[in-house]
Amino acid sequence: MADYYSSFEPKGTRWLFQRLTAAFLVVVLAYHFMLLHFVNHAADITFAGTQVRMSQLGYFLTMVLFLIAGTFHGVNGVYNALVNQGLEGTPKTAVKWLLIVASVALIAQGIRVAIAMTNLI
């Protein structure tokens, strides 16, 4: 199976962002898992430790970017999967806006939670 084949045509902003976020998430998801399960064991995590980590601006911004990239990549993936299954017309438009609203809500709530974990404000 040496032919080139991919489900996606290389076109459009969403196509490009799906791949750019993928490259970012490969690194940051692995880092997130390593740090919070292997370096610091999940069972030992306390609010004090979380606050120390989240109050470092670089770490905080990385986590917020992680949230935004993860949300886009995941929700866009769901949308692509549904379109791939034959979603079209009005249901497609309705699903698109539902996913956009869910994404914005998730990012907004995620940032609220991230700020609550810091002593930055």
Partner: protein, 130 residues
């Protein structure tokens, strides 16, 4: 550069015995993707209810970690995440047109490495659970 490839109706799972490596990769990537986005929404929801004050946060996390089922779910989450990452790297290489003749082998490698990392992580996840 891109050409269409007729993979048949992959949604017809009755054909699963005929599925090639690429079809299994497609199914596993999709399945693990659904799990990960579902988990992201759950993760933010749990953290939202926990981040009331410091004590509630610590109690919520330690309470969850005291449940054996949560430890096993974490192993499952790691398996799903590692496979999605490794197969995702494979897909990025396919999109870049690199190593196309090895894409089947790369899928098998992703499966084997995911399994190895998952098994190796079990002691860490179960530490202190009993």
């Amino acid at each position: 550069m891109s050409q269409s490839y007729d993979r048949g109706l992959i949604e017809d799972f009755g054909r699963w015995t005929e599925f090639s490596a690429g079809m299994w990769a497609w199914i596993f990537h999709k399945f693990t993707g659904w799990v990960l986005i579902g988990y992201l929404f759950t993760h933010i929801a749990v953290l939202s209810t926990a981040t009331v004050d410091g004590a509630t946060y610590t109690q919520t996390l330690q309470g969850l970690e005291s449940l054996l089922v949560v430890r096993f779910l974490e192993v499952g989450l790691l398996a799903v995440a590692v496979f999605h990452i490794l197969n995702g790297v494979r897909l990025l290489f396919v999109d870049l047109g690199i190593g196309l003749e090895s894409q089947d082998k790369a899928f098998y490698a992703a499966l084997i490495v995911s399994a190895a990392i998952t098994v190796a992580s079990i002691p860490t996840f179960l530490m202190g659970a009993f």
